[in-house]
Amino acid sequence: MRQRSLTYRRGIDLGIRLISFLAALFGMAMLGWILSIVILKGMPAINWQFFTELPAPPGMPGGGLANAILGTLLITLLAVLMGVPIGLAAGVWLAEFGQQSKTAEAVRFAANLLMGTPSIIIGVFVYVAIVMTTGHFSGISGAVALAIIMLPVVARTAEDMLALVPSALREAALALGVPRWKATLGIVFRSAKTGLLTGILLAVARVSGETAPLLFTSLNSPYWPESFNEPTANLTVTIFNYAMSPYEDWQTLAWGASLLIAASVLGTTVISRGLLWYRSK
């Protein structure tokens, strides 16, 4: 082996340490840059009108994104109602019944593939499957797309969380004569409560910032959301349209919407991670 002086080796080591420290600093700086820009540019748009008024034509004073805020909440809620129960049930099957069987392996594999599928592909799928069939864009198709994105996330985290529940708990319940479904829902679920909630929150955080699957399912609308069967206003598509527009006041509204989305997504993520951390203690 080639001999190198200690100074040389220490120098290389110090150099690498410095580079890795700078890289970590760079990562933090980028996070800080992006967040501070979103806050700085978004704050001026946030006022009472922003939350209460419909968008105004460009050039007109005032106007807000109340319809898009409401639309986003409704679409996300509908997506949760569709995606979470099926996801939880799939997670229960994987953890309680399927376990190591071939079918369970196939389902796990499919869930992993689905998690890695780009969200715009889910959008194209829902477009062909629902929008083309019904002949029009609709809020419900957007919610279906978001539900499909949530489904594998909820299923996989639910499985992991349920698998952490000690079998002794299940056995004790079953030994007392409790039916399997009651043992699962009443006892296993209860002890995995925090973990399940975290999984659901992470899935919600993931979809509430999604734009691509809504571009050609929910589309957008300048009106109040009245029916899920027609194009429905939502924040992310509004950001896309307004940011690309040449009007400065629309761009300001887009920054305001970005701030709102970023704050809620990051907030949800931090809360759910906190829950997970608290649980693991």
């Binding site: 080591d13 890289a23 593939l113 194209v124 489904l151 509430s208």
Partner: protein, 309 residues
Amino acid sequence: MQTKTHINLDPAFRWLTLASGLAVLLLVGSILYTLVMGAMPALKHFGFGFLTSQEWDPAFMEFGALSSIYGTLASTAIGMLIAVPLSLVIALFLVEIAPPAVSRIVGGAIELLAAIPSIIYGMWGLFVFAPFMADHAQPWLASIAPGFALFQGPPMGIGMLSAGIILALMVLPFITSVTRDVFQMVPAVVKESAYGMGSTTWEVTRKVTIPYGIQGVVGACFLGLGRAIGETMAVTFVIGNRHEISASLFAAGNSIASTLANEFTEASDDLYLAALIELGLVLFGVTLVLQWAARWWLRRTARKLGAVR
């Protein structure tokens, strides 16, 4: 002792949960089937030439995927070239160098980069990062390498290079966190014995940690690659959306995802729509293969290292 209900709900519960599990399986199948069916008119009309033609002219119903495929590959390649080395040294910092408290805070901040929605990267990219590239980075690159084909053309800010850099930022947290976990899997005894022989931290990393975890690192890169290749909104905002292949990294281009995001609602003709769906099919196929390869690889690695992730 029998209580009031005699109906056994357990089989129903079991079937209901099984049906939900199978729904996930069915979904992947039906996405593939639906995309193939939707793309059928284009598949029949253009055949294999779709993948090799650069022509994209909706007015004359000429559609070729080559520029979109090229843009997807080029932007992803730039992103990975930047993200992989950065992620490795950040993971190294988190595992070997930083004290635990610092490591937790920095690690948390890096993971937050993954939680920022894609559209926010797009807004920031279009209004802040692209002007920065146009005013500072691109003129500087052009001046240090004059005449270099990659850095030709007017510094517009938007284009392939900016899209690649933003992609790098977006996949960085994924590669970092998997790499960190892989580095942590290396048994302490193995590292301690190297330290005991008087190795420096870098020597331990290069001779012990990286060789030990190399499989996991490769898997992490595959996972990041899968993310980058399908990333839509951030790329759509900054790539420039032009159906042309250019050697310069400053030039505007497009990717499969950005073409879909921009043109899907404009597709007035059946053939136009089918061509776009076929683009989606190509992207879906590529991500499926990448995902499959990454999972297979990481599972093999986890088994070898004796830990399951």
